[in-house]
């Protein structure tokens, strides 16, 4: 009895926790994006790196400035702002003026996340909110594409002064989707896979993005149903169109071009803005795939991933409500009329 009792804590059970934490999930997504990020900088040069850093600086600055003082450390500690910045940066053209990237980051966090109540409360993917803002505000700069020019490239436009920029008179080259849409040119599959095409700085290499996706699946950081559902529905819908008339892009091209990989694996899977339930996830994913094909083929823009995801983000609360799983030991209910038996 001489031994003193240790001071015991009374933390409620369960004491065991699975090892994944929200912060670790965010960091895993960041790690998964690193190969594509390095490839983007390698292909598009130091200018692309500056755009990327600008976007990240914008989101972190936004998180810091817009958060209550007491919560700053915790909010920055969950790495979600860093991830938003990285995703935003990767979805920007490498020629973008850096100040626009910073502004996009600020808007992504401020308008995309903080005004909704911070992490976990926003309806729309913050990175895409930032990108949509930039596309609406600076349409010319946001659609100024360049063929990969190597590591030692800084674009003149990168260093433009805020609101004082001149005109862009540089050699531009269309993206594979632009070529397809406006000139009905297909791009070689190998270029699409390795990223040797014009486009946003992180979206061009389908292979590296898939590789990161594999890592995320192993780490169980994302819901596999969402990329799987998007791929499937893009294949089905673009396949149908292609079978009707081969002037439409074939499914393989549809899958490997544009920001589809980036969007399907890294943006649509954002847990906050995607449905809670497995069934909801399937509907959400097929909706995105359908909208991508619809916008790409019939819309005014060559690319539709961003709007497809944002539109389905808006439907997510509804999907959550109608895909509530049936409680154990209760009869089936009609999802559209909760409370009533079907």
């Amino acid at each position: 009895m001489t031994q003193k009792d240790p001071k015991l804590r009374v933390l409620p059970s369960p004491l065991l926790k699975q090892p994944n934490t929200s912060a670790r999930v965010m960091r895993d997504v960041i790690y998964a994006l690193l190969p594509a990020t390095v490839a983007g900088v390698w292909l598009f040069g130091v200018g692309a790196l500056l755009v990327l850093l600008g976007a990240i600086a914008g989101t972190i600055w936004g998180e810091y400035v817009f958060s209550p003082v007491a919560e700053r450390k915790i909010r920055l500690g969950d790495s979600s702002a860093l991830l938003t910045g990285l995703l935003l940066g990767l979805s920007l053209p490498p020629t973008l003026p850096i100040w626009m990237a910073v502004l996009g980051g600020l808007v992504a966090i401020g308008l995309g996340k903080i005004i909704w109540g911070g992490l976990g409360h926003n309806f729309f993917n913050p990175a895409l909110v930032g990108r949509a803002f930039l596309l609406a505000t600076f349409p010319a700069a946001m659609t100024n594409w360049n063929a990969p020019a190597g590591l030692a490239t800084i674009y003149q436009s990168n260093l433009a002064w805020p609101f004082l920029q001149g005109n862009y008179d540089m050699i531009t080259s269309a993206t594979p989707l632009g070529l397809m849409k406006f000139q009905h040119h297909s791009t070689a599959f190998s270029n699409l896979i390795f990223g040797n095409t014009g486009g946003c700085l992180g979206e061009t290499s389908a292979l590296l993005l898939l590789l990161g996706g594999g890592y995320l699946l192993i780490r169980r950081a994302i819901d596999w149903r969402i990329p799987a559902g998007i791929f499937l529905s893009v294949i089905v819908f673009s396949g149908i169109l292609w079978l009707i008339n081969t002037k439409y892009p074939d499914p393989i091209f549809a899958l490997s071009s544009g920001s589809l990989m980036l969007g399907a694996i890294y943006m649509a899977t954002d847990p906050v803005t995607s449905p809670l339930t497995p069934r909801g996830a399937w509907i959400f994913a097929s909706g995105i795939g359908f909208l991508i094909v619809l916008i790409r083929v019939f819309g005014g823009f060559p690319e539709g991933v961003m709007y497809a995801i944002l539109l389905m983000n808006a439907v997510t609360p509804l999907l959550d409500r109608i895909t509530q799983p049936r409680m154990f030991g209760t009869p089936k209910t009609n999802p559209l009329q909760p409370g009533k038996k079907s």
Binding site: Q3, D5, P6, L8, R9, V10, L11, P12, S13, P14, L15, L16, K17, Q18, N20, T21, S22, A23, R24, V25, I74, G77, D78, G118, L119, G120, H121, D223, P271, V272, S274, P275, L276, T277, P278, A281, Q324, P325, R326, M327, F328, G329, T330
Partner: protein
């Protein structure tokens, strides 16, 4: 064949690390009798039994010290020969003070309990069976503490089809049910046979998780050819031992919300409860010794022990070499649903399945992040509730909405909280909301 037995397995659930290797291979040891024993009166669901002894009385091991005054109650016996030292409030594992009887063991008594013949159970009626089980002080040892006899009083017209022995033991670390199936398979089977005969059940099933293959083999070896008892291996998955989940896994039946499984002709008992029933009918031995697992990284010498009821946790731990210095939390029960104790004076009661000690490494509460709506809790909940929604409603104290969201079905298994990457104490939020709801009810009525 195995694939077929998993056909009906309950969906969702989680796979926590098992950690059973600390104690799975250790034979159960009897704890020596010594010192003070604290016996809370309220060791069963329902009404606590009332004391029938007074301070200073000498009591014998196995002698009733509190008798039930209601149907939902159970007898309490003295676990040791000794003297009643006090009857009054004592601090229990939950941290609150409750009426308890304190007994000091007689250091010179043999503490031997000779078998006492009971009337032949084969000639008993169901009511007599229920009465006997009530007198034996047997409660549901799986954790619910429902007086065992309550289940054997059937509603008019109900015919029992299946009796299930719950040997799933899905809580990590715990191995006491494993050991009872290995060491006393005949007692478990005997208990089943008594119930099957008296309740006229068609078949008996014993559900055992596959991580206890030796116990499965041992039970199978002892089943006589004329017995209609089947051992069913189950996949290792939490909460396989939850009664409704086990019924789903074994029979494919979803017990409807608000329905007692007995009304569907299904009776379930923990393997320990069955062995206790056999002990009473064969030897007249009341329920006074609890088989527990003492384990966890904070315990120096993990063990399976047979301890008299009322033994303070401190004595149990002392027998196991004490706690490591860096122990931060001691839990009575399993790590998923057990009760953390603030003081080592808390006694072992009828449903205490284990004493687990954890160091800083395991008991560290993670930083709580906002819910990122990842849906892992939704995919963990075996009752198909939406735990993230319940947690959100609990934080906002929207109790009425919680009821609509099915909080009444929650069995507090903790799967959601285990799965949550944001470290939100979901099940704790639900527990306290429920406590608030029942407090409000108490006030208004």
């Amino acid at each position: 064949m195995l694939a077929n037995t998993f056909l009906h397995e309950f969906q969702h659930g989680v796979h926590p690390p098992e950690h059973k290797d600390y104690t799975a291979a250790l034979p159960t040891q009897r704890m020596p009798f010594m010192g003070q024993y604290i016996l809370p009166l309220n060791q069963n669901l329902g009404a606590p039994p009332q004391p029938v002894v007074s301070v200073g009385d000498r009591v014998l091991r196995g002698q009733p010290i509190a008798e039930p005054k209601a149907f939902f109650s159970s007898t309490l016996h003295s676990p040791v020969t000794g003297w009643i030292r006090a009857i009054g409030k004592r601090r229990l594992a939950e941290g609150d003070f409750q009426e308890a009887i304190e007994i000091e063991a007689d250091p010179y008594a043999t503490q031997r309990l000779d078998p006492q013949p009971r009337p032949d159970w084969r000639k008993m009626s169901r009511d007599e069976l229920a009465n006997e089980v009530k007198r034996a002080g047997i409660v549901g040892l799986g954790g619910a503490a429902l007086p065992a006899h309550v289940k054997y009083v059937l509603r008019e017209g109900v015919k029992i089809k299946t009796i299930i022995a719950n040997g799933a033991e899905c809580e990590p670390y715990l191995t006491n049910d494993h050991r009872i199936m290995l060491e006393r398979p005949q007692a478990v089977l005997q208990g089943l046979e008594i119930l099957q005969t008296l309740l006229e059940a068609e078949q008996c099933l014993i559900g055992v998780e596959l991580n206890k293959a030796d116990a499965i083999a041992e039970l199978q070896r002892h089943i006589k050819p004329d017995q209609s008892i089947k051992v069913v291996p189950l996949r290792v998955k939490y909460p396989q031992g939850d009664s409704k989940m086990l019924i789903k896994s074994l029979l494919g039946i979803e017990v409807p919300k608000g329905v007692r499984s007995a009304d569907l002709g299904i009776i379930m008992n923990n393997v320990g409860t069955l062995a206790a029933i056999a002990d009473w009918f064969e030897q007249g031995l009341p329920y006074i010794d609890r088989r527990i697992t003492v384990s966890g990284p904070g315990v120096k010498q993990p063990a399976n022990l047979l301890v008299p009821l009322g033994t303070p946790v401190r004595e149990v731990l002392r027998l196991c070499g004490g706690l490591r210095e860096d122990t931060k939390e001691v839990i009575v029960g399993g790590p998923m649903m057990g009760i953390p104790i603030a003081s080592l004076d808390a006694p072992i009661i009828k449903i205490s399945a284990g004493v687990l000690a954890f160091t800083d490494k395991e008991a560290a509460r993670p930083q709580e992040y906002p819910c990122i709506r990842c849906g892992r809790c939704v995919e963990a909940c075996p009752y198909f509730l939406n735990p993230s929604k319940l947690a959100r409603l609990a934080k906002a104290r929207l109790f009425e909405e919680m009821k609509n969201a099915g909080v009444g079905e929650c069995v507090e298994c903790g799967s959601c909280t285990y799965a949550c990457p944001s470290g939100i104490p979901i099940v704790q939020l639900i527990r306290s909301a429920r406590a608030d709801i029942s407090r409000k009810k108490g006030k208004s009525s």
